[in-house]
């Protein structure tokens, strides 16, 4: 600031700065996570906050996504007389792409925003400062349990999304449109390999880390005002959604 170098603050510089801030924050957060592990109660509470409270929206979205898959899959595959491949299509689409990505986007909107605004408001009302003065590290007490809660909840939510999605595809494709039940499941079983499951799990863990990190970091670094908390919440949704989609491409390419 006072080193004599004046750089015009453009969006690029701001982006680089943000990246650096978040990187340093991640290092501090991971150090705090080690200490936070000694307080499993706090983490469990945050798994419930991030995961339990997102269950309904994840299950509903999973069901509808699966139903659309069943409808669309049956329609398109029937044109090639291949509607028996519906199970395969639905399972692979959900496991590899739709499960982790849609869960990530919904998680960012539901749990990420809640995390950012909660931590931001704690900051705006001096709660984080009060903890520091009481010699309690807010990184270990507030940030780390919320981060860990998000990281643990996200893959679980994606798994639930996949199961309900597959059920939705089955409901429409098999029960409504008459695809053969036995073929549906046998195709699913033969097509899905460990490799596909791993891809889905890796993606959902990575998205969980990225979204939770952004959400906690934005809350921790926001301007401690009503406007600042609002802006930080918006940034959480935008940044974590874009990064989720970007990283989905990178990971998909990596798993090919």
């Amino acid at each position: 600031m006072s080193n004599g170098v004046r750089v015009r603050r453009g969006p690029l510089l701001e982006g680089v700065r943000k990246f650096g801030v978040t990187g340093i924050f991640l290092a501090r957060l991971l150090a705090a996570c080690v200490r936070a592990l000694a307080r499993p109660g706090l983490i469990v509470a945050q798994i419930f906050n991030a995961g339990g409270r997102s269950l309904i929206i994840i299950m509903l979205s999973g069901l509808f996504t699966g139903m659309v898959l069943g409808l669309l899959g049956q329609d398109v595959l029937a044109r090639f007389d291949a509607e028996t491949a519906l199970g395969q299509l639905a399972a692979l689409a959900l496991l590899k792409q739709l499960g982790p990505v849609l869960t990530g986007l919904l998680f960012a909107g539901r749990a990420g925003t809640a995390l950012t605004s909660e931590i931001g408001l704690m900051k705006a009302t001096d709660q984080l400062t009060a903890m520091e003065v009481m010699a309690v590290d807010p990184m270990a007490y507030v940030a780390a349990p919320r981060f860990l809660g998000g990281v643990i909840a996200m893959p679980l939510l994606a798994a639930i999304f996949n199961v309900i999605g597959l059920f939705g595809a089955h409901l429409i494709g098999v029960d409504l449109l008459g695809v053969d039940r036995g073929t549906f499941w046998s195709q699913t079983q033969s097509a899905v390999g460990l490799h596909d499951v791993t891809e889905g799990i890796v993606k959902s863990v990575v998205f969980g880390v990225v979204i939770s990190l952004i959400a906690v970091s934005e809350g921790y670094h926001c301007e401690p005002t009503a406007e600042g908390v609002g802006l930080a919440t918006t940034r959480t949704v935008v940044a974590s959604s874009v990064l989720t989609l970007l990283l989905d491409y990178v990971l998909t390419a990596a798993f090919l």
Binding site: E132, M134, V136
Partner: protein, 282 residues
Amino acid sequence: MSGAADLQRAPAAPADDAVVEVRDAHYSIDGRPIFAGLDITVRRGLITAVMGPSGTGKTTLLRLITGQVFADRGQVSVFGRDIASLSNSEIYAARRRMGMLFQNGALLTDIDVFDNVAFPVREHTNLPESVIRSLVLTKLEAVGLRGAARLMPSELSGGMARRVALARAIVMDPEVLLYDEPFVGLDPISLGMILRLIRHMNQALGITSVVVSHDVQELATIADRSYLLSGGRVVAAGTPQDLAKSDSETVHQFMTGSAEGPVKFHYPAPDYASQLLGADAG
């Protein structure tokens, strides 16, 4: 500013009974100087008042004392040690010997009143829950809110929240209590109670107190020693009676609450008449 220098009786060497020593502290935020050579001594067992107009960095002073920020130049010593030279864990150890009352209470909003007061005890000790319970209830009784133990912070009025925060600040029996604007927005009953509590904790428990405030009248009744800040330095120091008798213009203006004087009430602006007449379109 110069007229007040004679009032300031800063000792040449650090006194033995000084709990907090601020020596020639300089501090600025984003290039805006807050302190330019601040000298303050807080003696053990006394109530030290720090007064000053809004924006003179009274809250920043508390942040310096608790080691949340460090002076750019000069020294801030707490319990005899330069806080800037302490490691993180040593700063945390020093903070455990202090209690701080925030202006808005700063209660943790996701837990109830009882758990808020119990929070520092649970974090720093392994006391059994039964001991914590009686400890917390004793402190809540002292601030008259034992009956509110199971309320959530959102259900409290501003004055109640500050009393809970006070109970939380004293629950670990600190050696030093820092009060950030404890009198703002209190009804007369709560105000009288807070004043009595500050004095009681000082006299009965020997707690050293630093009260940061601009309520001159309230401070005059309890403070053993007062500092008046303006322009980033101490412009006057002494007992409240000394300050009331001071012939310094700044001190006089502050003690009497006049808009005219060395401390400008108006934020710098172009000439009023010419701006109204549109000569300056800003």
